[in-house]
Symmetry: C2
């Protein structure tokens, strides 16, 4: 394959995550062919020299490497395999790097269909959210063929500070789901414990300081507890998005036949918060589910 900077790179999906990622590629000297259903981000990229395409098919006509950054499995399936999709325009040897967070089994299925036409695919979901997308310091978890991964690694490292190949196609999304399960449950663990402390009349800030250095310590505890104590639930990472990830986790678990009882419960807590109008809150706001039931607030007394 021609050196990546001497060819057009496709970028489909210029949303909250996709746009800053595409901008980082432009900044680094890559020339892009872009496509999105909304005109604004497309025009913004066009003003910086990107070629505007009306369909994923048209992107695929122009590019041997295509990045997709879309909301969920159905959108990726549509863009890759649907009418005017990538599959209609791509030559054999084209590489699709799907950086969306979708169901791992959807990655496997879409990869299978593309592969029949000789099109390669990696699943490469990210963690770090919008701030790290802007900084180009995302953590990228990649599933797929090692040889394909090596061909696009330099491109990934423009958008992320790390890109780790974890296994075959779908493994990136499986890793992302494992990550999102642990994060959701660790937030709920903190919440359950701290609301109990508050309800007991003990200052939760002192409890936090007393336990953070021991076996109960976690990145979640240090990232979220100071915000909870201030009553700051500004996202960060929205409950609505974590609901999407847990939906994929539950679907995957049920399909594979592995139990996820705690994930299932925390999903219910988040659904209750959504019903209460809190889907736009940071996922640290899971604690409000407990606070509402217990009739207390875990806030700083300082």
């Amino acid at each position: 394959m021609k050196e990546l900077k001497k060819q057009k790179i496709g970028f489909i999906g210029l949303g909250i995550m996709g746009k800053p990622m595409a901008l980082n590629l432009v900044k680094e000297g890559y020339s892009l062919s872009v496509c999105d259903i909304r005109p604004e981000p497309v025009q913004e990229l066009a003003a910086l020299g990107a070629t505007v395409c009306d369909t994923p098919r048209q992107v695929a006509r122009q590019c041997q490497v295509i990045i997709t950054m879309l909301p969920n499995s159905p959108e990726v399936r549509q863009v890759a395999l649907g009418d005017n999709g990538i599959i209609e325009g791509a030559r054999p040897g084209t590489i699709v790097v799907d950086m969306s967070s979708i169901a791992p089994l959807a990655s496997v299925e879409i990869h299978g269909k593309l592969k029949e036409k000789g099109i390669e695919m990696l699943d490469a979901p990210v963690s770090g959210g919008e701030p790290k997308a802007c900084e180009g310091t995302l953590s990228i978890m990649v599933g797929g063929d090692e040889n394909i991964f090596e061909q696009v690694r330099e491109l990934l490292l423009v958008m992320g500070s790390s890109a780790v190949l974890v296994g075959d196609i779908g493994s990136g999304n499986t890793t992302k789901l494992a990550n999102q399960i642990i994060v959701a449950l660790n937030i709920a663990a903190m919440s359950e414990a701290m609301v109990l402390a508050e309800k007991s009349g003990v200052d939760p800030e002192k409890v936090y300081q007393a336990i953070r250095g021991g076996l109960a310590g976690s990145t979640v505890l240090d990232a979220k507890m100071p915000l909870v104590l201030k009553g700051n639930f500004k996202p960060g990472f929205r409950i609505a998005l974590h609901i999407k990830d847990l939906q994929n986790a539950l679907g995957t678990a049920h399909e594979l036949g592995t139990p996820v009882p705690l994930t299932s419960l925390v999903m219910e807590f988040m659904q209750a918060l959504k019903t209460g109008g809190k889907a736009g809150d940071d996922h640290g706001g899971i604690i409000r589910f407990y606070e509402n039931l217990a009739g207390v607030e875990v806030r700083s007394r300082g």
Copy 2:
């Protein structure tokens, strides 16, 4: 009060935790009056110069500061308030430092009864387990009066590397429960996620390496995942003991009226493991509950 090294310090309960704690006090030059229902550890301490007492009452006759390190709330209640208990032998101004992990509401109740006789009490449960008890590097969480705490702080710092006053009587045990809730749930979170990864066919060791540096990172993940990958469930901290702590957490939560749905579920997982003969395993063995249901093992492929 007379300098602590110039008086007899009482020590009641010379079990897996109490004995090494008492030995550290002797090593540091304190002279002890000891009591336990089993003769072996009493004789071991006697051989090092400790005075042997037949009852807590007798300990209280000889000591103005008495440490108790007992299995659970009923034992502390018995030793403090029962026949031949501390309350029968202690003079006003005596300080009881209960270092057992018990229900916070039991601490409050026992403190109330002792206080009627002018006897002071702190609840000062520890974390760190047997190894840190032997090293004298326990983390000690203290509830009670600040002035009383100051009088015994030097004594506590012989047994622990830190002693933090978190609030009024019972606060030490509330903090310990919050700690134990978070630890149990973080282990379960790791288990639920990693069994899903394994069942998906992804190498759990690679998933661990990919996510440990991000928001899913935790002390539990770094302490337990390497042991799980080796199939090493040697305690460490036994599931049987964690069951006891969660029993106290559930009891406290129900009495106060605060919800602990995840703790309640993880308690059921641990009960199932106990039924399966695994109560003596390290609490990292919670993952076996999931492994058994999913029919996989999360082990190193290396």
